[in-house]
């Protein structure tokens, strides 16, 4: 083997020339594609992340719903659905962290770091794929909502705006959980660390009941925390009436943008330091 080691270096393959920006976009899309194919091949993840909210819809619509009175709301399901959307995307965002932690654990990120691809592509591709997943999941929940009697009381634009707001908030959470996933030692840890953060945000909120029914300190928390604000904003956009509130809608947008502004640079920094 040594004897014939004449250095005939293999000729590298020519690469097409593009700007750094267009490579960054292409790399992000390649990673997005890869994440979407993986999602398609593991449908159980999607099924589990949609089954829980569907159970909640059925439970709150038909079991508890009769006992819950929201002042001024005739059909509880109209109050319920924005809460369920939020629950779905908030718990779903754990997947962003779990998937990143898995990629790290399996050494895939390490390989990515040795490739000439854009440094931004792994996180951009991850959060983009999760946005696509959320479009699908929220779409599904909208369908479920309609089946159990949820109706839009405002306009088509209100409904689209409400869903867009939900997706924006979901996207902001993806960045938070990208951070969690990058700091966790493995996928299970990422999962375990996420739930305790999220459960109080989802349940100590205005998702299922009015905050007015809670003890005073909890009521204050439930009214001011971001998940409630997003839910109230979606109610403002889909129900209007007593829930109509420009302030909540602006507040929800502000929260989402602020979360992205803080979490995204931190996640990118952590990714660069990582591996």
């Amino acid at each position: 083997m040594t004897a014939i080691a004449v250095p005939t270096t293999p000729t590298m393959i020519d690469r097409p020339r593009h700007s750094a920006f267009s490579w960054a976009v292409q790399d992000a899309l390649t990673v997005t594609w890869r994440n979407l194919v993986a999602m398609k091949r593991t449908p159980q993840v999607l099924v589990f992340s949609t089954i829980q909210p569907i159970i909640f819809v059925l439970m709150f619509r038909y079991v508890f719903g009769g006992a819950i009175r929201i002042p001024g709301v005739t059909h509880y399901v109209d109050y319920l659905m924005p809460g369920v959307f939020a629950q779905t995307v908030v718990f779903g965002s754990i997947q962003t962290g779990v998937a990143l932690a898995e990629d790290l654990q399996k050494g895939l990120i390490e390989r990515f770091q040795s490739l000439p691809m854009a440094r931004s592509a792994v996180l951009a591709g991850r959060t983009l794929a999760d946005l696509v997943r959320n479009v699908f999941v929220v779409g599904l929940m909208v369908g479920v909502g309609f089946l159990v009697g949820w109706r839009i009381h405002t306009s088509v634009y209100g409904a689209i705006g409400g869903i867009a707001l939900m997706l924006l908030f979901a996207h902001s959470l993806s960045w938070v959980f990208a951070l969690v996933g990058l700091s966790a030692s493995n996928a299970e840890a990422a999962q375990a660390a996420s739930f305790p953060i999220l459960a109080p945000l989802v349940f100590a909120s205005t998702a299922f009941v009015s905050a007015a029914s809670m003890p005073a300190p909890l009521e204050w928390f439930a009214n001011h925390q971001p998940v409630s604000i997003v839910i109230d904003a979606v109610r403002a956009l889909t129900y209007g009436g007593q829930f109509a509130s420009t302030g909540k809608v602006l507040g929800a947008i502000a929260w989402s943008v602020a979360i992205i502004a803080v979490a995204a640079p931190l996640a990118v920094r952590m990714y660069r330091r990582k591996v």
């Binding site: 083997m1 293999p10 690469r15 097409p16 593009h18 040795s114 490739l115 493995n186």
Partner: protein, 331 residues
């Protein structure tokens, strides 16, 4: 002949753990360097520095004349990396994995498709090309991992423990594939814990332990350092072996091995020593079960250099490279 890889006085600490403590070596273009050492010796850390994944604290590392920290991007375009844990996506098919890596290596779509087909064919994965990787065997994953490292035809290839965890036939297969690559002129840096692997594949061997180079040379140079012959005398039980040790020490022969019922002697003149051994043992009425005269293996080299066997890293060592990656908690 120029050097494709140059490493000079590389230092890297993780907190209080010194992973690289001034490592230097070079790899001439078109040759194979075997980086040999136990778990945690600093092999993987060296590879991660050279593949631009990790920044060294100090020292110089160059690939094809390009500094790995200042010219990371052009370095990445010229190297291939296949790791210890086949870093392929389980949910993607073999073909999709190669397409992904090809695209992320910035090759054109047409070239990627062609290369993917070629490589799958070459690594006997064509039939499994459209199956998700999670259905692959360990050997198939390793071959795919290696194929992924070759999509863009890199002139410099890094293989980090390429056969760890493979069964003997899988290992033989992969060795064959690697030998073919080397024949084509690829410069290869290979890390391994298997002395046999370094012996078979590498032109030069660098032995590292505790983040330092402790020996280097060709396999035969390393063996020559150790004296020419090993005489092994096996006994029925450790107690007899111990008595034999005492008897043989009396005539100036020292046990260099660690096996309990085996006495290993490192000598210059095997044939004459065998006679002395037989006389001494006969005189002491000790009956050996086996008596072997053999060339030293790299195992012997390692043992005499580090005081421990290659497969048995000392316990209070730094965390294993692999462990550091898998549980990056402290980082």
């Amino acid at each position: 002949m120029t050097d494709a890889i140059i490493v000079e006085n590389l230092q890297k600490r993780f907190g209080s753990v010194v992973a690289l403590d001034g490592v230097s070596f070079s790899v001439p273009t078109g040759t194979v360097l075997g980086l040999l050492g136990p778990n945690g010796a600093g092999k993987t850390t060296s590879v991660r520095v050279l593949t631009t994944i990790l920044r060294p604290d100090s020292g110089r590392a160059e690939v094809l004349g390009l500094d790995v920290t200042r010219n990371a991007q052009p370095v990445r375009e010229r190297i291939g990396l296949a790791g210890q844990y086949a870093a392929v996506d389980e949910n993607l098919t073999g073909h999709e994995n190669l397409r992904m890596i090809g695209r992320l290596s910035h090759l054109s779509k047409a070239v990627v498709l062609k290369r993917a087909d070629e490589l799958l064919e070459r690594f006997a994965l064509a039939e499994a090309a459209d199956r998700p990787v999670r259905t692959y065997s360990g050997g198939m994953r390793r071959r795919l991992d290696l194929a992924a490292a070759l999509v863009h035809r890199p002139p410099v290839l890094f293989l980090d423990e390429p056969t760890t965890g493979l069964d003997p036939s899988g290992r033989q297969d992969l060795w064959g594939v690697i030998e073919d690559l080397v024949r084509e002129g690829t410069t290869l840096l290979l890390t391994t814990q298997y002395l046999e692997e370094a012996d078979r594949l590498a032109d030069n061997i660098v032995v590292i332990d505790h983040g330092r180079v402790i020996a280097e040379g060709t396999a035969s140079q390393l063996k020559a350092k150790l004296g020419s012959t090993i005489v092994e005398v096996g006994f029925a039980d450790p107690a007899t072996a111990q008595r034999a040790q005492v008897e043989l020490a009396r005539i100036g022969l020292c046990d260099v091995g660690t096996a309990s019922s085996l006495v290993e002697l490192k000598v210059d003149d095997g044939a004459r020593v065998v006679l002395d051994v037989v006389r001494a043992l006969d005189h002491a009425k000790l009956e050996p079960e086996t008596l072997t005269v053999r060339e030293p293996t790299l195992d012997d080299v390692f043992l005499s250099l580090t005081g421990h066997k290659a497969e048995e890293p000392d316990v209070e060592d730094e965390p294993a490279d692999a462990g550091r990656r898998r549980t990056r908690g402290a980082a």
